[in-house]
């Protein structure tokens, strides 16, 4: 009894647990934000958590990240993660332009836009379209709950045909598929996920960080207060029943050694801009996420079948980003010195002579 040897002698004190750090020496806590004021159980909070984890695991310097949002419940969420990053909560639907300007000013920023379905698809539809066209380097996340939460639950333009409000009102207009739109318009990394699918969302976010260009992620994120009832197609229950993943996604960041082999017949490997590797194990053998036409067709089919297709629908790692196309200098325009931004006396003299 008493003389049975044990592996952990009680007399040896446990050394204080060394906090886990990432590759740049930061802890998860360095990526946290303020306390959320969203409803308990709101899908948006889960997305914030996934962002924190992905940024931490990718070892992104928080000071390099700039967060952008518009107006709505979703747009409040940047206050609930990454306090060490600058953030700009702008006006309703017009976050894309603010983010575009900021990236023009400082191309070294890692831009993260968080928006909602009302913000993006209705009031912000115009700016959304043009953001996608430009392929600006930004991770654009739609926290999609099919309703206007902050104004108490009116339908948004992603609400499905026939879905109902709590009051019983039936939606009689067709939804906008933001992913199909984004693919058609020129975004170079387009996918859909579900706030309740921790693994898939987490992996997609890490791949998003490795991408150079516009990442458009539509994340179905149930509104527990106004759109989680029977008759809603954006509820937890509905998503659990209808979520149809297109692939099993895994991601190996560039700074980790690749030591897991995979079956080239069933898995597509995409080498990301930064050298990371995105692996998509196909659940549908014929699907090719580098084919725009197929991507849009498959999305249309999913609507006809009544499934909520998730996964990486389209990816193009070769397209130049907007910043590449502008051929701007490597240093941020924001902090160029006067010696660079003010031409010389000789230049003015030449201009004046030409006008005489």
């Amino acid at each position: 009894m008493g003389n049975t040897p044990t592996n952990t002698p009680a007399t040896t004190p446990t050394p204080p647990a060394t906090p886990k750090i990432n590759r740049i020496g930061l802890q998860v806590v360095d990526y946290r934000g303020g306390k959320t004021t969203l409803c308990a159980g709101c899908g948006h909070n889960a997305i914030s958590e996934r962002i924190i984890d992905a940024m931490y695991e990718m070892g992104v310097q928080p000071e390099r990240v700039a967060k952008f949002s518009g107006i709505g419940c979703s747009s409040k969420s940047p206050a609930y993660f990454m306090n060490r990053s600058h953030s700009f909560n702008s006006v309703h639907g017009r976050m894309p332009s603010v983010a575009t300007g900021a990236i023009l000013a400082n191309r070294n920023l890692i831009a993260l836009g968080v928006t909602g379905d009302g913000d993006t698809v209705s009031i912000g539809a115009g700016q959304f379209v043009h953001l996608m066209r430009r392929n600006l380097p930004i991770i654009y996340i739609i926290e999609d709950n099919g309703c206007y939460g902050l104004t108490k639950g009116q339908f948004s333009a992603t609400a499905d045909l026939g879905s109902t409000l709590k009051s019983g009102v039936v939606n009689d207009l067709p939804p906008v598929d933001t992913c199909a739109m984004a693919i058609q318009l020129g975004a170079t990394f387009v996918g859909r996920s579900f706030s309740g699918d921790k693994r898939q969302l987490h992996t997609m976010l890490k791949a998003a960080i490795a991408h150079n260009g516009t990442v458009m992620l539509d994340v179905v994120s149930p509104c527990v207060t106004f759109n989680d009832h029977e008759g809603s197609t954006k509820s937890y229950k509905y998503m659990q029943a209808h979520d149809e993943p297109l692939q099993e996604i895994s991601f190996v960041p560039s700074f980790e050694e690749i030591n897991v082999d995979y079956d080239h017949g069933t898995t597509l490997e995409v080498t990301m801009h930064d050298g990371s590797s995105l692996r998509l194990r196909k659940l549908e053998q014929e699907y090719d996420p580098t084919d725009k036409i197929q991507a849009v067709t498959r999305l249309m089919e999913s609507h006809a079948k009544g499934e909520v297709l998730t996964g990486v629908f389209y990816i193009n790692e070769k397209a130049p980003s907007f910043i590449d196309m502008l051929n701007v200098t490597d240093e941020p325009l924001a902090t160029l010195p006067e010696s660079v931004t003010r031409p010389s006396r000789e230049v003015l003299a030449k201009c004046m002579e030409e006008l005489q």
Binding site: S85, H130, A334
Partner: protein
């Protein structure tokens, strides 16, 4: 379409025998898209090269080709460059408007017209010169499709001969105009020569107008306000320009693209700027705000309809305290209004643009030279006060060519305002974004990307406290709004001061922007023709500086002259001055879309003075 605010004349008058040197107004009536712009520029430059002060005003329709257009050149030995109502020489090239054009002339004016128009039958109190343009164009040897364009250069030659402009100057102006197109230069020169020779051989000079050499334009430049602004912005260190095309502001950015490509590309071939055409004005100003928040000197250019669209974002920039430079090249509103005509009609809406309590800094350039210098003022003020700054130009200034002294090289360094760097943060440890540390109302900001754990703050259009944290507390809100107002009060001592002319008169005139040129001339008219002495204060900015208040205090009556219906600047002044002084202000308003002229001001002021 009326080209002037003169009532058609049916009176017959006498053709005088006087000789009028270097003081005339020439109007060329053509069709939009006919290439007349080059011809008019050549005619204007020829007079300018003769040493005579000129101004040129293009009156054009909102149309690409086919509608009537008029170009007025004023030559003035006294240097008056405001629009002059009365036309002395009409060059009638447009069959559609020729009859009306002739009817609006004053008796004794002369008409140089296309022979088949037979305009000499319209009135008998004018001097007529007929030129068979088609026949002459054929002799120049141009291909049929070029003849329409060539006709325009023929009138330049004919007019030059009638006015006794040295043909060598016409040639020089043509060579400058077509500097990069040798073939076009040769053809146009032949056309001008054909017109000149025809006039010499066939037209008997009967009008009294002549151009004689003088030396009042030596060393001067000719440029439009939008180009001057573009150049000013380039020298002001602007790095991000976003825009949405709208008349009359488009040429500002288009010219800037040319300048920046030429002079702001580094030795590595990479641009030290980004210029982006946005999807609309909302996006244009949104990008400006995003870029400025991230630290770039950013700007956009627009006109009234764009300003209306930018209202919400302007409020965001005002309240989040982000610098922004917005050029408002004013045109006639409300609504689409007259898109190709000039006005000063956005003064009030811009001053208070956005919902809630907002007051925006405005600058009022009166000249191409100020378009250049106020570009830096605007950027410096925007960054110094972390707020939107509007430069209130107008179509007359922006799109017309103006004579000017060469622009001086900027004499002050660029002021980037209160920005804390990593090194600053290492010293001070942290900061509160909206705290009034220096007592001027202006807080310190950091730029995203600053590599310090305490650098970040949360910029938001919702209520916030000194630390930029979300707050709905009444005291936080009130204190913040009062501090923002303090910035505006501080700005009074930093904005460009007004320009004072005169000194001891009882009557004062206040004007701003392009109205200036009519006031300068009108004051001389008032003095010479009516023995009425006036002092004049040209307001150059909002908020108003102390000098503006002093000026109103010192004068019994102050006429506020402006190009809008409601006396917008007068209203703005009334909100700012002591209530007891408001009865002193009287408005002289001018709204038909043509640049204001001196006689209209003189006549109205004399009438209001009861003389």
């Amino acid at each position: 379409m009326a080209t002037t605010d003169i009532v058609p004349q049916e009176l017959s008058g006498q053709v005088g025998q006087r000789r009028v040197i270097n003081d005339m107004s020439i109007q060329v009536a053509t069709v939009n898209g006919s290439g007349s712009q080059s011809s008019n520029t050549v005619l204007m430059r020829s007079i300018f090269q003769m040493g005579v002060p000129i101004s040129g005003k293009n009156l054009f329709p909102s149309n690409i080709a086919g509608l009537p257009t008029w170009f007025t050149i004023r030559a003035s030995k006294d240097g008056y460059i405001a629009r002059k109502k009365e036309i002395d020489l009409l060059i009638a090239m447009n069959a559609e408007t020729a009859q009306d054009d002739v009817k609006t002339l004053g008796a004794g004016a002369s008409v140089l017209y296309d022979e088949p128009l037979a305009l000499d039958k319209v009135r008998d109190d004018l001097i007529y010169y007929a030129v068979p343009y088609d026949k002459l164009a054929a002799t120049v040897g141009a291909e049929a499709k070029l003849r329409k364009l060539i006709k325009n250069m023929i009138y330049v030659g004919a007019a030059a001969q009638l006015l006794e402009i040295d043909f060598a100057e016409v040639e020089k102006a043509i060579r400058k105009q077509f500097a990069k197109k040798a073939k076009a230069a040769t053809l146009n020169l032949a056309a001008a020569k054909a017109g000149h020779d025809y006039a010499a051989a066939n037209l008997k000079k009967r009008d009294p107008f002549y151009i004689q050499r003088m030396d009042k334009t030596k060393g001067k430049i000719i440029i439009d306000g939008n180009s001057a602004a573009a150049m000013g912005c380039m020298f002001a260190g602007c790095t991000v320009v976003t825009w949405y095309p709208i008349t009359p502001s488009s040429s500002l950015v288009e010219t800037m693209i040319e300048y920046m490509k030429e002079y702001r590309v580094g030795p590595d071939g990479k641009a030290t700027f980004a210029i982006v055409q946005a999807e609309d004005e909302l996006a244009a100003v949104g990008m400006v705000i995003g870029a400025a928040w991230a630290g770039a000197r950013s700007m956009t250019a627009t006109a009234g309809p764009g300003i209306s669209l930018m209202a919400e974002f302007t409020g965001l920039a005002y309240y989040v305290e982000v610098p922004a430079v917005i050029w408002n090249i004013q045109r006639v509103g409300p609504s689409t209004g007259l898109p190709t005509r000039t006005a000063q009609g956005d003064v009030l809406s811009t001053a208070f643009l956005s919902h809630g309590d907002t007051k925006n800094i405005m600058l009022f350039p009166n000249s191409v030279s100020e378009c250049f210098t106020m570009a830096q003022d605007a950027f410096d003020l925007a960054e110094r006060f972390q707020t939107p700054v509007f430069v209130m130009s107008d179509l007359d200034l922006g799109m017309n060519n103006w004579m000017s002294d060469p622009f001086p090289y900027p004499d002050k360094p660029i002021n980037r305002g209160k920005v804390l760097t990593k090194a600053d943060l290492e010293k001070v440890g942290g900061f509160a974004r909206y705290k009034d540390v220096d007592g001027d109302g202006v807080g310190y900001r950091t730029l995203p990307g600053t590599d310090h754990p305490a650098a970040a703050y949360f910029a938001r259009g919702s209520g916030h406290n000194e630390k930029a944290q979300y707050s709905e507390r009444p005291d936080d809100f009130e204190r913040n709004m009062e501090r923002i107002n303090k910035k505006f009060e501080t700005a009074r001592s930093f904005v460009p001061r007004p320009e004072l002319m005169g000194g001891n008169a009882k009557i004062g005139i206040i004007a701003y922007g392009t109205s200036h040129w009519a006031i300068v001339e009108s004051r001389d008219q008032l003095s010479k023709e009516h023995k009425l002495e006036t002092d004049y204060l040209r307001v150059r900015s909002y908020p108003f500086t102390r000098e503006v208040h002093d000026f109103i205090e010192r004068h019994e009556r102050v006429y506020v002259v402006e190009q809008n219906r409601d006396g917008q600047m007068a209203s703005l002044l009334k909100l700012d001055i002591k209530p007891g002084l408001t009865p002193r202000l009287r408005s002289i308003c001018h709204i038909h879309g043509l640049p204001i002229d001196a006689h209209s001001v003189t006549d109205e002021l004399v009438m209001m003075e009861g003389k």
